[in-house]
């Protein structure tokens, strides 16, 4: 997905976090938002984004809304109630992971 494999495990959390901050987003918009927020450091490829989105949808964490935009259909993703709860858990897990890594890599800062 990106320049580093380190981000791979956090893709789901990144998507959930973005959707938590925005009412609804479409696939391409997510890739562009991540690129802008990380100043181009993290580039989510299509081959990684859509499997993650479809998986989250199948798990019931995301809901889909379809609207006509510029003469074509656009699929918007938004969090379900379960998705909102899961976002909190995932973010906590990620924070914990960062803290642990910090302790391992740079014990002085931890």
């Amino acid at each position: 997905m990106s320049n580093s494999k380190l981000y791979k495990g956090s893709l789901t959390t990144i998507i959930l976090k973005l959707l938590n901050e925005h009412d609804k987003m479409y696939g391409y918009e997510i890739t562009q938002k991540v690129k802008a927020l990380t100043k181009g450091e993290l580039k989510i490829t299509e081959g990684a984004l859509y499997p993650a989105l479809h998986k989250l949808e199948a798990e019931g964490l995301l809901d889909v809304e379809v609207a006509k935009v510029d003469n074509r259909l656009r699929k918007y993703y938004k969090l379900t109630e379960t998705g909102t709860k899961e976002t909190v858990n995932k973010l906590e897990e990620l924070a914990e992971y960062i803290k642990t890594m910090q302790a391992l890599v740079n014990p002085k800062l931890a």
Partner: protein
């Protein structure tokens, strides 16, 4: 820069040529590709052809440029490999299947405990019992018809028009129907084989099995109707 109607149509045809035949899969790819091409043209100052080729590769479709003349790169590059799209469809198929199964079991108990279903099952039981008075065969035929009618309704609506046959979601929603339609026949065959030579066969076993099969089949129809309505609505939106 916004793409023209012709350019969008070109992308749609390019996707069809790359075997993305389901419209409900294509709509998401089309929107992504159009948005990405528009951004690349505006931000990177490249041509439509170059931008489309870049996006095509971004989906994991490999392209070996070696031996391809420069003027043929666009044409060859777009159609040399569709491995990325194939993976996309395969993965989506897997997740749709998961989603359908999850919804099925999540809504199973509320459905079978609904008054509507109770009345349907009651009516079928009464009609079967009346038919049973004539003969066991007629009784079994009536019990079987509950399942057959339910599954044929799915197959009929699922394969009636182009939008349904060319939709991955609809295809997966009716995928179990052929199996369920034949199930009563197989059960009778198995029953006859197992109790061959017995004078008084325990036919109540078949009635119980048919009743169970009807429960699963009827709930499957309920879920199918929901999927049908969703994709019918989306198709109307697409074509208007």
């Amino acid at each position: 820069m916004k793409l023209t109607k012709q350019e969008i149509q070109f992308i749609d045809h390019y996707l069809i040529k790359n075997e993305v035949k389901y419209w409900d899969v294509r709509l998401e790819l089309l929107d992504h590709i159009v948005s990405a091409v528009e951004t690349k043209i505006s931000n990177d100052g490249i041509s439509f052809n170059e931008a489309l080729l870049e996006v095509h590769r971004g989906f994991g479709n490999q392209f070996v440029e070696f031996g391809v003349s420069k003027d043929k790169i666009f044409e060859k590059g777009l159609y040399q490999s569709n491995i990325g799209f194939k993976k996309f469809i395969k993965q989506k198929q897997k997740e749709i299947g998961r989603k359908h199964r999850k919804t099925y079991w999540k809504t199973f108990l509320p459905f079978i405990s609904s008054i509507r279903f109770f009345i349907e099952l009651l009516v079928l039981t009464i009609v079967t019992l009346i038919a049973y008075q004539y003969s066991i065969k007629v009784g079994l035929f009536v019990a079987m018809s509950g399942i057959i009618i339910t599954e044929f309704t799915k197959l009929f609506y699922g394969g009636l028009k182009k939008f349904k046959t060319k939709s991955l979601n609809m295809q997966l929603a009716i995928s179990s129907s052929l199996l369920l339609t034949q199930m009563p026949y197989w059960l009778i065959m198995l029953f006859n084989w197992h109790y061959e030579g017995l004078e008084m066969k325990p036919y109540y076993i078949l009635f119980i099995l048919f009743a169970l099969l009807f429960v699963f089949s009827r709930h499957s129809l309920n879920n199918f109707i929901k999927i049908y309505n969703t994709y019918n609505e989306r198709y109307q939106l697409l074509t208007t």
